[in-house]
Amino acid sequence: MHLSPMSQTSARDILESILGHLGFPFQIEETKRGDCIVLNIISREAGRLIGRDGHTIEDLQYLVNRLLHGVEDSPQRVIVDVEGYRQKGEIDFIVNIREVADRVRATGEPELLPAMNSYDRRLVHQALAEDAEITTRSEEGNARMKQITIELRRSRQLGDAQAATPAAAGTTSTAGGGEEEGATTLSTE
C-alpha cells in the first residue's frame, strides 16, 4: 500500500534524513541554478562523503533524486555537492572546454568531445553560448550519453572561405557550401 505522495517531501528533507540516519554531522546550503536545486553539504567529515573520485557524492545525489521522484531514470534535478567539490570540478571542466574552443578557433577544425551526460552537456553549451565565433552541437538521438561537436560558427567559416583561402579553411562542412550545416546551432537541452 502506498501511503503519501513522494513529492510532499523536499529534496533537502530527504538529504537531511539520509545524513542524519547515517550519523554524519552536517549543515546544508541550498541554492538554485537554472531549474536545478543545489544542496551543498558542509561537514567535518567531507572526505568520507565525497568518496574516492567523488563516487560517494554521486551515490548520494542518485539516491536523493531516486527517493524524491520515486522512479528510476528520473531527471537529476537535485545536485548534491560536498564543500563545493563538484563546483571546483566544474570550473576545471569549463576551463578545459574553453581550451578546446580556442584550439578550434585557431585551427578551424571541429573537435568532438567525449560522450557525456545531459548535465555536463549543458555546462558545455552554456560555457560557449556567448562566443561569437564558436558553436556547439550535440549529436542527435535519445541516448543518455552523447557527444558534442565544438566548431566555428558558419559566419566565421564563410568569412574564411571568402578570404581567398578556401582550401585552407580545413573544415569539411563548408567545402561545398553545405547548407545543411546550420549557422544557428545553439543547442538547447
Partner: protein
C-alpha cells in the same frame, strides 16, 4: 545505519508492511537481511543494481567511521508476515 536503511527502503517499496529487516553483528561486520515483497525486490535493487549499490556505498561510508564493514542482503519474503521489530519509517 539501520534507520537509514529503513528510511530508504520504505520510500522505495510499495508493500511497506511486508518489509522485514534483521540485523546481526559479527565482530566488525554488521549484516542487514532485508526481506521484501516479491514486487518490490526490483525497485530496491534498481536498474543494473544502481539503487542498491548507492545504498551499500552510503552504508559503507558511514560504517567506515567506526571501522565497521556493512553487508546488505536482499531477498524475497515468502509471505506477508510483518515482523514486529520493524520500525516504521519516519515521515
Amino acid at each position: 545505519m539501520r534507520h537509514f536503511l529503513e528510511f530508504a527502503i520504505q520510500r522505495l517499496v510499495e508493500h511497506r508492511d511486508d518489509v522485514d529487516i534483521t540485523e546481526t553483528a559479527d565482530g566488525k561486520t554488521v549484516t542487514y537481511r532485508v526481506a521484501l515483497h516479491a514486487d518490490d525486490v526490483g525497485k530496491v535493487i534498481g536498474k543494473h543494481g544502481r539503487t542498491i549499490s548507492a545504498i551499500r556505498s552510503l552504508l559503507s561510508a558511514a560504517g567506515a567511521r567506526t571501522d565497521t564493514r556493512v553487508v546488505v542482503a536482499i531477498f524475497e519474503s515468502t509471505g506477508p508476515a510483518p515482523s514486529p521489530e520493524v520500525v516504521p519509517a519516519q515521515a
